[in-house]
């Protein structure tokens, strides 16, 4: 887990991969005239008065290269619509979306298809496997659509089969696989073209809890091996906390807070967010660095890494008798951790 959350500190300052500014998606009759609305007429009340649905309202955020950005909300909050706006599977009503500085809303049909083919991969909630193709055929599908010859496509597909742990099942058909295995195929297919941008639309919500955890680990592992800019949609807060560098919480089409898991738990922006995160034990998200005092101590009994969450180092904190040193990745001491404070954080619910 520490590795996953480490992205946050590492990538926050990194270059922007995806930039979203003032994106709206409005459904309903007369949505076409939305652009001419003055800002004062763009409230939820004004929209519903005119029988419009603001599925995504004024969304703005930047995603750093290699970051895992989770969009979270309950059903109907607009999270899937927002994801589909990013890939233009749904055409946004208004706003700007740039990928690596290129405004994708200005792309023509062909350039867009090319962008999706070469630089994007997507995992779907209900897997979207083609029932007439084998595991190998499904994974090779995006490559075939690009016109890559069969032998090369299959060779690449075989690599991916191994990558997601399905070796030996290459010739199975989707109906002969369990749900978890099917989504492994979905993941492998989304990575077939080795995309820079990875979109995952509630990929695990149709799976059993245990399988879900396995696949979350799989995503973490894949991100460790080769970090991609990932946008992950979920309604499961646990999943969001496990995977996210940052989380955007949506409610009724609006993003009401964007932050690291720690920020959401310790500084919720609204009551809604507070109720949402109320069940999360603070120790799971609060990092050692946040509790650290910037004073060095002469004789530390032991040391813990600054990036770890408190619960990850719980055993050491409980076992230590004396002061605890906090170190960075290189092992340099950054400060100290007060055992009492740490224990209080651990005990808090």
């Amino acid at each position: 887990m520490s590795e996953a959350n480490a992205f946050h500190s590492r990538h926050r300052a990194a270059e922007t991969a995806i930039s979203v500014s003032s994106v709206w998606k409005v459904f309903g009759e007369g949505a076409a005239r939305f652009r001419s609305r003055p800002p004062a007429e763009r409230t939820a009340e004004a929209l519903s008065r005119d029988h419009l649905t603001g599925a995504v309202q004024d969304a703005s955020f930047d995603i750093g290269r290699g970051e895992v950005f989770v969009i979270m909300g309950l059903s109907g909050s607009g999270k899937s619509t927002l994801l589909r706006c990013l890939t233009r599977l749904i055409e946004p009503t208004e706003g700007h979306i740039t990928f690596g500085g290129q405004d994708i809303l200005k792309l023509g049909e062909k350039a867009l298809a090319d962008l999706r083919r070469r630089r994007m991969g997507m995992v779907f909630q209900h897997f979207a496997l083609l029932p007439n193709r084998t595991v190998l055929g499904n994974i090779a599908f995006p490559l075939e659509m690009q016109g890559i010859d069969r032998a090369r496509a299959e060779a690449r597909a075989r690599e991916l089969v191994a990558l997601v742990g399905l070796s030996g099942r290459e010739t199975r058909l989707p109906t002969q696989l369990s749900g978890g295995q099917q989504q492994r195929v979905g993941i492998a297919r989304s990575l077939a073209t080795n995309p820079e941008f990875w979109f995952l639309d509630e990929p695990f919500s149709a799976l059993d809890p245990l399988i879900r955890t396995d696949l979350q680990d799989e995503v973490l592992r894949l991100q460790r091996e080769q970090s991609r800019t990932a946008v992950f949609v979920t309604h499961d807060l646990d999943e969001a906390i496990r995977l996210a560098d940052r989380i955007a919480i949506m409610e009724n089409g609006r993003i009401i807070q964007i932050g690291t898991p720690e920020e959401l738990v310790t500084r919720p922006a609204t009551d809604y967010v507070r109720r949402f995160v109320a069940k999360v034990p603070p120790a799971r998200v609060i990092r050692v660095a946040s509790l650290m005092r910037r004073e060095s101590i002469a004789s530390a009994a032991m040391s813990v890494p600054a990036e770890a969450t408190v619960s990850e180092v719980a055993a050491q904190i409980v076992a230590s008798a004396g002061p605890i040193a906090v170190t960075d990745k290189a092992g340099r001491t950054l400060g100290s951790l007060d055992r009492q404070t740490a224990l209080e954080t651990l005990a808090a619910l």
Partner: protein, 660 residues
Amino acid sequence: MAEISTPPTQHRLSRAGLAALLALGAIAVACVVLPLGAAGTPEAPALPIAVWVDVAMNWIVRDASLFGIAFSDLTRALATAAQWPIEVMQKVLAEGWVSGAGFNKRQVLPPASWLGVTLAASLLAWRLAGLRLGLFAAMSGIYLATFGLWTSAMMTLSSVLFCVLASLSLGLVLGIRAHRSPGIEPAVRAVMNIMQTVPTFSYLLPTLLLFGYGPSAALFATVAYAMPPMVHATVIALQSVPSDTLDLARMTGCSRRQTLWKVELPVAMPRLAIGLNQVVMMTLNMVIIASMIGAGGLGYDVLRALRRLDFGAAFEAGMAIVVLAVLLDRLTQALARQQSAGNGRGRAQRTWVVGLALILVPSVLSLFVPALALWPEAWTLSVAAPLNDAVSYINQQFYDPLEAIRTTVLLYVMNPIRDALQLLPWPLVIAATALGGWRLGGGRTAATVVVLGLFIVVTGYWSAAMGSLYLTLLSVILALAIGFPFGIWVAGRTRLQAGVQLFLDTLQTLPTLVYLLPAVMLFRNGDFSALIAILSYAVAPAVRYGIDGMLHVPSERIEAAAMSGCSRWQTFRHVRLPGALPTLLLGVNQTVMMALSMLVIAALVGTRELGQNVFTALSQGMAGPGIVAGLCVAALALIIDTILKAAAARATQSEGNSHV
């Protein structure tokens, strides 16, 4: 909640109902008081719609032209163009290549050997559906060959193959079109719904005029009849492709063509295969009927035998239709199952090669061994003689009881009902029906009833329509009285279900003509035989929906009933029956539709109603009356359909669920 909200609604309804009842009474009084000419049963059409249709058809056939080419030339050319593939298929399967005519007739090439075709069909059946169907295919082939039915069966089969290919490709193209432009889809569906209620014979008329007498005209009618379900199935199948999958196609940058061929069609394949099954079965039914007007084949054999009162021969040809129907049905169903299971490849190629070899080797050998080309006439088996003896024995021995049943039912049940319906003034019948429609489904339903009812009145077919109604109602009531209790009884017995379902499936695959045989054998021509035939055709859906209705009552409700200490009867009366009601009502609807579609076939045994009008018009080549009478059957069907659907919707609303 319900307790509180019910009284005011009921009050309002009963007040409106009272007003409507008064109106009804007024109409009834008016009917009696006014001279019959105004309100009685019009025998002559008020509007000569049939004549107009005739004129329009004649204009199309004689004068209409497109870009200077006469329309009829166009259609005849089309017919000639279609003639070629049909003839090739018939030559390959049934007749062989022949040179010369009359005494100089000499067979240049024999048709595909019966042994070869049987072996190949068995291999296909075995591969697709397992050993049992393979054996069944082999026995069917042997039956057809040894009973001298091979050539007729192959004539029928080649027509079926041609029509299925045409319906399939046209249906796919139209379905894809309709799916892509959502504006068209409702219009297509409306047209299809009407087309499916118009009796089969009505399709034959315009095609005969447009395409000329000949086998291809009948086949065009068949395609027109069997294509709609394929269009429908295609639209449904494409709509069933999950949105995630379509998103995948876009995310992988598929072109339109790639999306269609690589994503949409493969994903939709299981449902398309179900459509194929429907198309095949409808085609077979229609081909059998069409063969009666001279296309040749098994249907013609049955009809010819019936005219000679040779029940044994009719039975043999009828059985040939049965085995063909069952075989085609099981094969296409197996194909659909295999498609939805997702495996359909692998050894397919080898099977094709072996199958082709199986046809070719005996066919080449048949050049030297004539018995392989066609089973020698001298060896032909027949059970016709003993069967005829059996039938006449039964008719002699049981003449009195059979005749007593027939006469009693005719005199004391059927005729009075028919007379009563035909005597009732039409305004009263329409008003009463409209009132019922209004209570069940509101103004729209009532308006539909009135418009369609008036159409029947105006065209002058009211009396005939009442004749159809009485036959339909009587057979439906009997079918339900037999079917529902039996279905409900079977639903409680898990072990019986599979067997009954298989039996019902088989019953429903049989072409309509087959149902006439036993009735005519025992009860000769007339309304009573028609009743028996319609009843036996319509009983299958009644049983099926009886089973379905019972099975789809949520088990939790039954558990709740058990926990409340309900007795078996209480559970049935208060939980199962109300829960099954929407499904049962749909079952009534389905039974009515089946009965109506059988009417026209039943006309063959001499009924007096719309079906007879269609049939007579067909035999006399009168397009106008035939088409209009056919439309009247459709109108009748739509009236009943509208009312029963409204009733089912109502039951569903109060019930809160239905599996349909």
